[in-house]
């Protein structure tokens, strides 16, 4: 492919998927700056390996896979240096939301997601927020549909327990 054509095509790809991927990453990370870094890394990897993309899966699934792996890798790295869950909880508590009931629930939901194990967090976000089919999540995470259903079931239980436990 001509380099200028590649640039134009890639820019279109970025413009088309940037919002979905941004929200996908941010639901797991919450911090905008970290999300921006991971989103950039995701697209840089996509740029480098674009020639290797064989079209076995949809480009959206492929990008979600790269973004999910980048996010989980970021969470693991950050956990080694500091308590990510604590930092996310602090971030949620100072994010300046209004005090109405629904906002409180959203804050608690984010807190509950933050304390989920890494993979459960990714599965929960893809299923709960994006309504992604298990078949697609399986392609992204490399897990079987059965394992994903079990993972989502446990995640839902934990989130509900967390929210009801701290319900005012």
């Amino acid at each position: 492919m001509d380099p200028s054509q590649k640039d134009v095509a890639f820019r279109e790809l970025v413009e088309h998927f940037q919002k979905d991927l941004y929200h996908h990453i941010k639901r797991m990370i919450l911090d905008h700056q970290d999300t921006d870094d991971i989103l950039q890394d995701t697209f840089v990897k996509a740029w480098v390996h674009l020639a290797d993309f064989r079209g076995d899966s949809q480009i959206k699934t492929w990008l979600y896979k790269v973004a999910t792996n980048e996010t989980l890798s970021f969470i693991r790295k950050k956990r080694n240096t500091q308590s990510l869950d604590t930092s996310i909880l602090e971030l949620v508590s100072v994010s300046g939301f209004t005090e109405d009931e629904s906002e409180k629930l959203i804050l608690k939901l984010e807190q509950a997601i933050a304390i989920l194990p890494d993979r459960q967090r990714a599965v929960f976000c893809m299923r709960y927020y994006d309504d992604m089919p298990y078949q697609e999540i399986a392609k992204i995470t490399g897990l079987t549909e059965g394992a994903l259903k079990a993972s989502y079931f446990h995640a839902v239980k934990k989130v509900e327990e967390f929210i009801t436990a701290v319900k005012p």
Partner: protein
């Protein structure tokens, strides 16, 4: 997504979840920032590739040959000095035996009054000794 899977409680929350938007203008600027980074990293990679070119082997050939030759020369000189036979002592050489008249020498040692053939006459020796003493 089936309701039984998530439960009514979380579904109710989900209905109230509004998308947390990125800062204003973020998505408009993002593609440009991303492409700038990609171009910067590509040019860095390119400059790295061009600046660290491998040294051409053919340029090293004369140096390697000269080095090998000097090593060979050093070995040759070393072995030559070790294996060159030393000259025979003078007493064993034929030339020395011809020059010396050993019989006359023995007589001279036993009887010092005799003069060796071919030596200075006694009076000349005395003159020479006197001159040396003066």
């Amino acid at each position: 997504m089936p309701d039984s899977e998530t439960g009514p409680f979380l579904l109710k929350i989900k209905a109230n979840v509004r998308t947390r938007e990125a800062p204003e203008g973020y998505f408009q600027a993002f593609p440009d920032r991303l492409m700038d980074r990609i171009y910067a990293e590509s040019s860095l990679q390119y400059s790295h590739q061009t600046s660290v070119q491998p040294f051409p082997v053919w340029k090293a050939v004369p140096v390697m040959l000269a080095f090998a030759a000097s090593i060979c020369l050093a070995f040759f000189l070393q072995f030559q000095s070790v294996y060159t036979p030393l000259p025979l002592p003078p007493s064993d050489s034929e030339e020395w035996n011809q020059l010396a008249d050993w019989n006359q020498m023995e007589q001279f040692i036993t009887d010092p009054s005799l003069e060796l053939s071919g030596t200075l006459p006694a009076n000349e020796v005395e003159d020479w000794v006197l001159q040396e003493e003066l």
